[in-house]
């Protein structure tokens, strides 16, 4: 699929490895330092909630759509979350049109799990009529520029969008999109932090060149009240138990950093 020159990538990969051995990175960051992060909530003014996140050059737009539907049979008293991701070909020469790739599916599912498993959304407050009518929360991730670490950027965009989402009114069997009945009911603030292992070196927030050179990737989602709520290893490399433990510690620390950015954004 990758149409770029194979040899070029091999050279780049060797360069990234050489740097990593010396504790260095292609953009001179520290090992556990995030790139610059910009969060623009409410970017899509006409949608009930949205946020544009720039993590260095990686750009993700998360948009929330609200609709009324029937709950799942086994959770009649809960609203429904659906998360999708489109790696639109605009964002990278390696993304293609067509049905979602396995990468897009994994991304959507890992972002979804961070939100779902942490019970970030109070789904019981999204019930209109038990067993019959509930709010469906669609979280759509639109990747606009791909320079590595879609997981953290997407999870951050999704959470920022949810924090700025207004639930529309529902009256006389109709959704009134111009009026709001409440803020999206949130209970926790999960964020995701992704680490790459290059040789024996662990790095936070890999850029694309690092991501491609890495053997393995680990994403950890943490909550503001001290829980881990999701994890996902990617890539054909391996991790030791000790590495995972070290990553968990860093993940809580960096998670609080990301939550700080979200918090600042809520005020601003």
């Amino acid at each position: 699929m990758n149409r770029e020159n194979e040899t070029l990538w091999t050279l780049k990969s060797e360069y990234v490895h050489r740097l990593a051995k010396q504790g260095l990175r292609v953009d001179n960051r520290d090992a556990f330092e995030y790139r610059d992060i910009e969060v623009t909530p409410g970017y899509v003014t006409r949608s009930p909630g949205s946020a544009l996140v720039k993590l260095g050059n990686t750009t993700v737009l998360a948009g929330i759509s609200m609709d009324v539907g029937t709950p799942f049979q086994d959770t009649p008293n809960e609203g429904v979350i659906m998360t999708g991701a489109e790696l639109v070909p605009l964002a990278s020469p390696t993304f293609e049109s067509g049905p979602p790739s396995e990468d897009a599916i994994e991304l959507a599912r890992v972002v979804d799990r961070g939100i779902r498993e942490s019970k970030a959304i109070d789904l019981e407050k999204l019930v209109i009529e038990e067993g019959e009518k509930v709010w469906m929360v669609f979280i759509d991730l639109h990747i606009l520029d791909y320079d590595g670490n879609l997981f953290d950027a997407s999870a951050l965009a999704a959470m920022a969008a949810l924090m700025h989402t207004n639930v529309p009114k529902y009256e006389d069997e109709k959704v009134i999109r111009t009026e709001s009945s409440m803020k999206m009911p949130l209970r926790r603030v999960p964020v995701e932090t992704t680490f790459a292992k290059i040789g024996d070196t662990l790095l936070l927030d890999p850029v694309l060149d690092e991501e491609k050179a890495a053997d393995v990737r680990l994403t950890i989602a943490t909550t503001d009240d001290g829980y881990i709520c999701a994890s996902q290893k990617g890539g054909s490399g391996a991790l030791t138990v000790e590495e995972i433990e070290m990553i968990i510690d860093k993940s809580f620390e960096k998670g609080d950093f990301l939550r700080g950015i979200l918090k600042d954004n809520m005020k601003g």
Partner: protein, 249 residues
């Protein structure tokens, strides 16, 4: 074109619901080189529309059997983000976006010098991030800028605009409510140097007089859009020769 005139679209002073005059464009903002990975890119904000375009190529043709030994293959993909409209749009191409992609590609084929790049492919991708009527015009306008930004040689920079009919009057550049409850819509695109029409559609009900008035109005609108395109490219490159525009880095 619902034509349900219960909703008044013009006030007693002849002003439109957003306060515009009949022949007035909505506010338009343009920017080029907004994406890092694309060979060329542009962002267009046009009323409530937010549109981003990217160009990749000339590059290898995939699948290979589509390659043309005489010219580059031009592809155009118009895509709406699920949250760009009130009722969430399911991801993936629908019939409407396939049609829009086709006629937009045909419009650009008129100006892009495809014959310079045989056996290659030039991909134009446009994402509608927020929709407020006239998205195909905004998309094509952004696509032209992105092509220029990518340094693809073109005979001209295509500019688009729509005219239409609301409450019995021919007006320029419909917004969403005007499109939903108005009587006709006519999106067009021009090659500004020659004034030729390269994209042309119309739906709704119009007499010949209204139709020709709308057409001329839309052409004028597109010319104004083209002025903004030219300013945007000038600001970026500090040069006037657009088709000689260099890459965005």
């Amino acid at each position: 074109m619902g034509g349900k005139s219960e909703v008044p679209l013009l006030d007693k002073n002849g002003k439109r619901i957003d306060g515009r005059d009949l022949e007035e464009l909505r506010p338009v903002k343009m920017e080029v080189g907004v994406l890092k990975k694309a060979d060329g890119s542009a962002y267009v904000e046009w009323g409530g529309n937010k549109v981003i375009a990217a160009v990749y190529g000339p590059r290898e043709v995939l699948p290979k059997h589509l390659a043309n030994p005489y010219k580059a293959v031009l592809k155009y993909r118009y895509n709406m983000a699920p949250f760009s409209v009130d009722d969430r749009k399911r991801p993936g191409p629908d019939r409407r976006s396939i049609e829009i992609s086709k006629i937009s590609r045909e419009a650009l084929e008129r100006v892009v010098m495809l014959e310079y790049f045989p056996n290659t492919m030039i991909d134009v991708f446009v994402e509608i991030l927020q929709a407020d009527a006239g998205t195909r015009c905004a998309a094509l306008t952004a696509a032209s800028l992105a092509l220029a930004d990518a340094g693809i040689p073109m005979r001209d920079v295509v500019a688009a605009c729509a005219a239409g009919k609301i409450d019995g009057k021919v007006v320029l550049d419909l917004k969403k409510e005007e499109d939903n409850y108005g009587e006709a819509d006519m999106p067009i695109a021009i090659s500004p140097r020659t004034g030729e029409i390269v994209l042309f559609q119309m739906d709704g009900l119009m007499t010949k007089d209204e139709y020709m008035k709308a057409l001329r109005l839309a052409v004028e609108g597109a010319r104004k859009i083209n002025e903004i395109q030219k300013e945007t490219l000038k600001d970026k490159y500090k040069i006037t020769n657009l088709s000689g525009g260099d890459n965005n880095e």
